[in-house]
Symmetry: C2
Subunit: 170 residues, 2 copies
C-alpha cells in the first residue's frame, strides 16, 4: 500500500476482534511515530503501551466511548513532556504528526485504530491512573486492535470549504 493510499483509505475503527496485538506490533507503531518532525527536533512525545486488562477497564470508565476502549486489545496513551517543551502550540502539532504516523502504520499492517480525544476531559484521572511524571501532559488515547470487517465510510469537506485564496499582488 503506498502512502497516499494509506492516507486516503484509513478510517477510524471502533470494533475489534479478539485477536491480540503483540508488543512487537506496538513497537513498530512507535517506530513510525518517532519519525515525525518536531520543532528544533525536540521530539516532545511520550508513549505508553497499555495491554493490561485492568488498566484498559479503568480507562474505559473515563470516557463516554467506553465500548471502544474496553473492546480494544491494546491502547496507546500519548503525552507531551513539558520538560522537553519547545512551545506548546508547536509541540501539540508535532504530537499530532506522530499520532498520524502511528495510525497510518497501523492501517497499513491491517490493524484498526481510533484516536480518542474526548477522554482528555479526564486528563488528571488518566495521569493519576497511569502514574506518569508531573511534567507529562496526556494528549491522546489510541485504541488499537484488529478490525471487525465492515464498511467504514469517510466524509470530508470539499476543497472549496478549506482552501483559501491568496491575496492578489501587483
Amino acid at each position: 500500500m503506498d502512502a497516499f493510499e494509506a492516507i486516503t483509505t484509513r478510517r477510524s475503527v471502533r470494533e475489534f476482534t479478539d485477536r491480540e496485538v503483540t508488543d512487537r506490533e506496538l513497537d513498530r507503531l512507535i517506530e513510525a511515530a518517532r519519525w515525525a518532525p518536531s520543532g528544533l527536533n525536540n521530539q516532545p512525545w511520550r508513549f505508553m503501551k497499555v495491554t493490561d486488562r485492568s488498566l484498559i477497564e479503568d480507562l474505559s470508565h473515563m470516557t463516554k466511548y467506553r465500548g471502544v476502549v474496553a473492546g480494544a486489545p491494546a491502547l496507546m496513551a500519548i503525552f507531551i513532556d513539558a520538560d522537553e517543551m519547545y512551545d506548546r502550540t508547536r509541540d501539540l502539532m508535532s504530537a499530532g504528526a506522530a499520532i498520524q504516523n502511528l495510525l497510518l502504520a497501523a492501517h497499513e499492517t491491517g490493524m484498526g485504530a481510533c484516536w480518542l480525544g474526548e477522554i482528555l476531559a479526564k486528563r488528571e484521572d488518566v495521569q493519576a491512573l497511569l502514574e506518569v511524571p508531573d511534567s507529562f501532559e496526556f494528549v491522546a488515547l489510541v485504541a488499537l486492535g484488529w478490525p471487525v470487517e465492515r464498511e467504514r465510510s469517510g466524509v470530508r469537506h470539499p476543497p472549496e470549504k478549506f482552501v483559501v485564496q491568496p491575496p492578489e499582488t501587483d
Copy 2:
C-alpha cells in the same frame, strides 16, 4: 513506496531546484491532508497555496529561515479556523496530523518539504499579509519544491527515551 517507508525515510528538505511545483501537485497534497482525522470530524484546517513570488519574498522576511522560504517555489500556509473549533488542543493536533499527511504525500512523489514553525512568532504579520479572516489562526508554513540531491540524515531518540512503562497492576 509503502507508508512505513515513506514515514521513516522522509527528511526535511531546505534546498530546492528551480523546477516549479504545479497547482495540480499542490492540490494533491491538500487532498492527502484533508484525510487526517479530527475531533468530531470538524476538519478545522485551512490551506493557502502560495506561489506568487512577491508573497514568497514578503514571507521570507518574517522568519530567520529566510533562505528556505525564499528558495522555495511554493509554500503552503496552514491555519485553523476558530469558527469551526472543537477544542484548541485537539484541533492543533489534528492540524499536525493533516500536515504530516501533506509531508508524506510530498515525499512519496519525490518532492521535498520543510515544516516551519519559527515563523509563528510573526503570526500577526503573516495573517495581515495573507489577508485571512479574523477567525483564522496561522499555525504552520510548509516550504515545498523539488529537492537538491544530497544526503539528509535523520536523528531520533532511542525508544528508552520516550516509551514509558505502565504501572504494575495486581
